[in-house]
Symmetry: D2
Subunit: 265 residues, 4 copies
C-alpha cells in the first residue's frame, strides 16, 4: 500500500501570484503533516454551466503558470484536459492528466491520455454506476497504461443534486487502482444556482472523514484564499485556514483504517 495523498488547489488559475502562494501553502502543510501533495488547478473550464462564466487563462498561459509551480514550489501537478489536442502539451508539464466526469466515456480522449504515459485520473461520471468504471479502466489499460486513478465525485440524485454512494469506493478499489475521493465536487448542487452550480461547503469535512474511514488512496479538495470571492466553484471550495484541522483528523482516521483493513494495500 502507499500512503494517502492530497490533491488540492484552486478550481481554476485566477492569478499567477495567488496560484504560487496557494501551492506554497499546500507544500508547507503537506510537510508539516507528512502527507504527499499533488497541486491541481484548471487552465480552462470548458463545461461551465453558463457561457458567461469565467473560464481561466487558457492552456498556454495556464501551463506556463503551472510550470512555475513545479519549479518554484516543487509540487507534482494535476490538471484536466478536454480535447485530444491538449494532451501533448499538457503531458509535457503535468504529472497527472485528469479526465473530467462528463467525458469519462469518451474513448478517444481516454486512449490518447493513456498513450501520453502520464498518470491518468478519471472522474467517474455522475451518470455511471461504480462497476461501469471497469470498462473505463480497460480502455486505458488496453492502450498500454496502467497508472490510473479513479475518482468518486458523486452520482446524479434527482435534479440539481448529487449523492455520494460510499459503496463506490470499495467497488472501484477492487479494480486494482488507487481510488480518490473528490469531496469538494461531491457537494456541488449542479446548476443549482440557475446560471452556476451551487455548493455545500459545510459537508466537505463530514464526507471526507467518511471516505477516509471507508478507505481511500487520495483526497481531492478545491481550496481558495477567499472562497466567497472565487471565480469558480466558490460555494464548494475550502478556505486555506480550514485545511489543517480537517486534514489532521482525516490522517488519524486513515491511519486507523489502514492498519486494520488487510485488503487496504
Amino acid at each position: 500500500g502507499f500512503p494517502l495523498v492530497l490533491i488540492a488547489g484552486p478550481c481554476v488559475i485566477e492569478d499567477e501570484e495567488a496560484t504560487l502562494r496557494i501551492a506554497s501553502f499546500l507544500r508547507k502543510l503537506g510537510e508539516d503533516l507528512g502527507i504527499g501533495i499533488i497541486f491541481k488547478a484548471s487552465f480552462d473550464k470548458a463545461n461551465r454551466t453558463s457561457i458567461s462564466s469565467f473560464r481561466g487563462p487558457g492552456m498556454e498561459e495556464g501551463l506556463r503558470i503551472l510550470s512555475r509551480v513545479k519549479e518554484q514550489v516543487g509540487l507534482p501537478l494535476l490538471s484536466d484536459i478536454h480535447e485530444i489536442s491538449q494532451i501533448s502539451p499538457a503531458a509535457e508539464v503535468l504529472d497527472v492528466l485528469q479526465i473530467p466526469a462528463f467525458l469519462s466515456r469518451q474513448t478517444d480522449l481516454l486512449v490518447a491520455a493513456a498513450r501520453s504515459g502520464r498518470v491518468v485520473n478519471v472522474k467517474k461520471g455522475q451518470f455511471l454506476a461504480p462497476w461501469d468504471m471497469a470498462n473505463v479502466v480497460e480502455k486505458i489499460e488496453e492502450s498500454g497504461n496502467d497508472r490510473i486513478l479513479l475518482t468518486e465525485r458523486g452520482a446524479s440524485f434527482g435534479y440539481n443534486n448529487l449523492v455520494v454512494d460510499m459503496r463506490s469506493l470499495v467497488i472501484m478499489r477492487e479494480m486494482g487502482h488507487p481510488v480518490v475521493f473528490d469531496a469538494t465536487h461531491s457537494v456541488q448542487l449542479p446548476g443549482g444556482a440557475g446560471t452556476a452550480s451551487a455548493g455545500q461547503r459545510q459537508y466537505v469535512g463530514a464526507l471526507s472523514r467518511a471516505a477516509a474511514a471507508v478507505g481511500i488512496d487520495g483526497l481531492f479538495w478545491e481550496v481558495h484564499e477567499n472562497p466567497d470571492a472565487a471565480r469558480c466553484d466558490g460555494p464548494n471550495s475550502l478556505a486555506l485556514d480550514h485545511l489543517r484541522p480537517m486534514l489532521e483528523q482525516i490522517l488519524a482516521i486513515d491511519a486507523l483504517v489502514r492498519k486494520e483493513i488487510p485488503s487496504h494495500d
Copy 2:
C-alpha cells in the same frame, strides 16, 4: 454528548433460546469493549415483501421472549410497532419503540408512540429528505415526548436499490436528537430478490465506519448466529464472530471524531 451505543439483535425472533444466546453474546461484547448495547428483535414483520415470508412469533409471544432477555441478560430493549393497538403492551416491556421507515409519516402512530412515554426511534422513510424529519420530530415533541432517536437507513435510489446520503447524519443531528445509523438495512436491495429483499452484507463495515467518521450517536446492526440460514434479512445480517473487530475499529473512529468535533455533543 453521550457515548456511542450499539443497537443489535436478530431481524426477527426466530427461536427463544437462540434469542437469549445472541443477547448474552452482545452483552458480553459490550462489556468487553465498553459500549452500551440495546437489544433489538422484531416480534412481527408486518411489511415483508411477500405474503409467504416468515413473520415471527407475534406480539404476545414475542414480548414474552423479550422480557426474558431483559430479566436474564439485562439489556434494554427495542422493537418495532406497526399499529396503535400494539403500543400499550409493547411499552410495558420495551425501552425504545421503533417506528418503521414506511410508517414514518403516520401521524397517529407517531403521536401514540410519543404518548407512551418511551423513547421513540423513527427510521427515516426511504422516500423522505433528511430535512423532512423535522416535521416528524415536531409530531412527537408536540405530543409531549422529546426522547427521540432518528435513524438513517438509506434513501430510494432508482429501483431495488438504496443509497446512504451521509449528509443526512449531519442534517438530522442539527434537529437536536441523537442520530442512529442502521447499517444493515442500508445495504438492503429492496425487493431485489423477487419475493424478498436482497442485501449486500459486504458493505456494512465500510458504511458503518463512514457513519462513525461523520459522527453518530448510535449504530444499528442486525446480527445472527448463522446469517445464511436466517429467516429474515439474512443477506444483510452480520455473523456474531465478525462483530468484535468491526466494532473495535468503529469505536476508535468514534473516539477520534468525538474528540475533535465541538458540535458533536
Copy 3:
C-alpha cells in the same frame, strides 16, 4: 376490455354541501362525456407532512357524508383506509377501499382489505419498483380477492420530487388488473413546501394525456371548487371548470389507443 373510468373528488372532505356539489358536478360531467365516475374523498388524512395540517372530519362523520353522496348523487365511492379497524365500517359504505402508497407493503392491512370483499385499489409506494407490485397483488389474491386496481402515483426521484416512469403502466398492466394513473399526486413535490407538500398543477394535463396514450383503465384526479383555498393538496388539485376540456382530449386519446393496442383489453 372495459372503458376508461375517472376517479375524482376533493383531497379531503372539507364541507358537506361542497362535497355534494362537487359530486353532482362530476356526475353530470361523466354523463355528458360518457365516462364512468367514481367519487373519491378522504375522511382522514393520516399522514400529512405536519402535525398541524387539517386532517378532515374523521371516519364516522366522513362516511356519513359519503353515504349521502351515494344516495343523493348516485356515484360509487372510493376512499383510503389506514388501519385495519377502519375496514369494516368503511366497507359498508365504500365500493373501493384504497391502500395509501406509504402503506402498500403493510401485509395485514392488505389482507384485511382483501377480505372485505370490496375492490381494493393499491397505490404503488414511491419506494417500489413497478415489478414489486406483483408481490402486493399476490398478498391480496391469496386472501381471496381478485378485484384489484393498481395505481401509479410517481416514484421517489432525489429529494422532494417524484417522477412518473410511464413504463410502470405497461408493467403493472401485465399483472392482469386494471391500472389507474393518479395524475394529481404524481405532480406533488413531497415536503417541498417545508411543512406541506408543494405541487405542480400545470403538469397534470400533460401527464394525464401521456398516461392515456400509454394505455390506462382509470384516471385519478383530485379536484376542488377553489384549489388555491383547498385545505389539502391545493397546489396539485384541479379546478372544476378545467376538467371538461382536459377530459375530452384524454377520452379521444384513449379511444385511439384502445382501438389500436390488441393487448389493451
Copy 4:
C-alpha cells in the same frame, strides 16, 4: 407551429447499401404517412461502453455514405459530432449537427456547432435537469444561431437505468425551440449488459405515444433491418416493419393534441 418530424435511421453506419436501403424505406414511409423524415446515422460512436465495441466507418467514409443518402434518397441528414475538428467537414454534408448528451455542457463544442450555421440538436444530458437546458440554449444563441432542437433521452435514475420525466418536454418547449423525444435511447439501460448498454425495445411504443400526447415537435427512433444483429444499440432499436403501425398511431395522437393545445404552436 410546424408539423411533427421523424428523425430515424440506424445507430451507426454499418454498411453502405444497407444504409441506403433503410433511407429509402424511411422516405417511402414518410411520403405514405405525410410526415417529414430526417435521416440519422452516426459515423463514429466515440463513447461506447467498451473499447472493443464497433465504432463505425469513421468520419470521412461516413460522410461520404451520408452524402449518397442525400443525393440518391433525398432526405435531410443528422449526425452527431464529438470534436470541434469534425464540425467543419460535417457541416458541409449534414443539415443538423447533433451534440451527444454526455457533451451537452461542453461550451466550445456548442459554440463551434452554433457557428457552423447548421441546425444544432442538443441531447439533454442524463445528469441535467430540464431547466438546465436554458443555459445550453443561451450558449448557442449567444453564438449567433437560434436554429436549435432540444432532445429528451432520459435522466439518470439510480444505476444502469434511465427514466423519462415527461414534464421535461413541457419545460423545454417553453424555451422557444422545437423539442424532440428520443424514444429509443430513453429505453437504454446504460452499461446494463456489462460491456454494453442493454435496452428495452418493448417500451419504445408506449413512451413515444406518451411523448406525442404531451406534445412534441420531433420523434427520434433508431431503426435497423435486423435489430438483433445490429452492431450498436440493437436491444433498443426498432425493426423496420414495426414502424408504420406505431407511427400511424402517433400521428393520430399528435393531430389530436396539436389541435387542442393552444400553446402547442
